[in-house]
């Protein structure tokens, strides 16, 4: 099967199951994140959220993992995401990656558009990746 390489090709369109509070806490441990907003519901409320929030970097990590699986880690050059809405425990995310252009940024690279969306349509992250084009 050939890899996505033309503008408009979908690299992946994947649903990531919602993370439990325990999983979110585990990610905080794994990233040495000291912010209580991810583990302490009372603190999260003080910050204006109804409950703890999932780390934005968890979305980044899932995109990186999926892109590496699609293209191989050695071809991934850039991943750039802006977080636009909080993700709460057990909220599933739909992660979509689409080839936007070839050689738009630098010769020999694919630009991939990225978007993470909740089930209700809220976009929680948007950005792009750059991947080395396949070599013969």
């Amino acid at each position: 099967m050939s890899l996505p390489s033309s503008a408009g090709d979908v690299v992946f369109d994947t649903e990531i199951a919602g993370s439990s509070r325990a999983t979110i806490a585990l990610f905080s441990e794994a990233t040495e994140d000291p912010n209580p907003i991810h583990v302490d519901a009372a603190f999260a409320e003080r910050c204006g959220f109804p409950q703890v929030i999932q780390q934005g970097p968890m979305t980044t990590a899932h995109f990186a993992r999926l892109l590496a699986r699609a293209f191989s880690a050695s071809r991934l050059r850039v991943l750039d995401l802006a977080f636009s809405a909080p993700v709460f425990p057990l909220e599933a995310l739909r992660l979509v990656a689409t080839v936007a252009a070839v050689a738009a940024v630098e010769a020999g690279r694919l630009r991939i558009d990225l978007q993470a969306t909740k089930a209700d349509g809220t976009v929680t992250a948007r950005g792009h990746a750059e991947v080395d084009a396949e070599t013969e």
Partner: protein
């Protein structure tokens, strides 16, 4: 506020080696329970700097309850293996103040360079975009 005087601020470099237990927890939090000992591409993250003296939130006067993570950018130049030791240097790249309907926000870009200690090659550059919300 966050003073623009912080722009250009650098920190003494520190060393980082992927911790196998944190790598395991990282993969587990992403739902990957296999025994992959390879550090995730996004294993290098600014949060790890805090226990090495890069106390951004304190230095930039961003209380945790007013901090948000606006986004991340990774640039990969060379792979990082489980046995690689890294030298990490951090700098505050940019401080921007914006006032809108939600009040005043300060956007701070911090850049972390991860160099392989064995050959000084730049392996990863991570930019994190932090937000300080107005209020008390």
């Amino acid at each position: 506020m966050v003073s623009k005087d912080h722009e250009g601020r650098t920190y003494p470099p520190y060393r980082l080696r992927p911790d196998p237990e944190l790598v395991r927890k990282y993969w587990l939090a992403l739902g990957q329970s296999g025994a992959d000992a390879t550090p995730p591409l996004t294993y290098p993250i600014f949060l790890r700097g805090e226990r090495h003296g890069v106390e951004l939130f304190r230095d930039l006067d961003i209380p945790r309850h007013r901090a948000l993570h606006a986004g991340q950018r990774y640039e990969w130049f060379a792979p990082i293996g489980c046995d690689d030791e890294l030298e990490v240097s951090a700098r505050v790249e940019r401080v921007i103040e914006k006032t809108g309907k939600a009040g005043t926000l300060w956007f701070v870009d911090v850049v972390y360079d991860y160099r392989l200690l064995r050959n000084r090659e730049l392996a990863v550059r991570e930019t994190s975009r932090l937000i300080k919300r107005g209020g008390v």
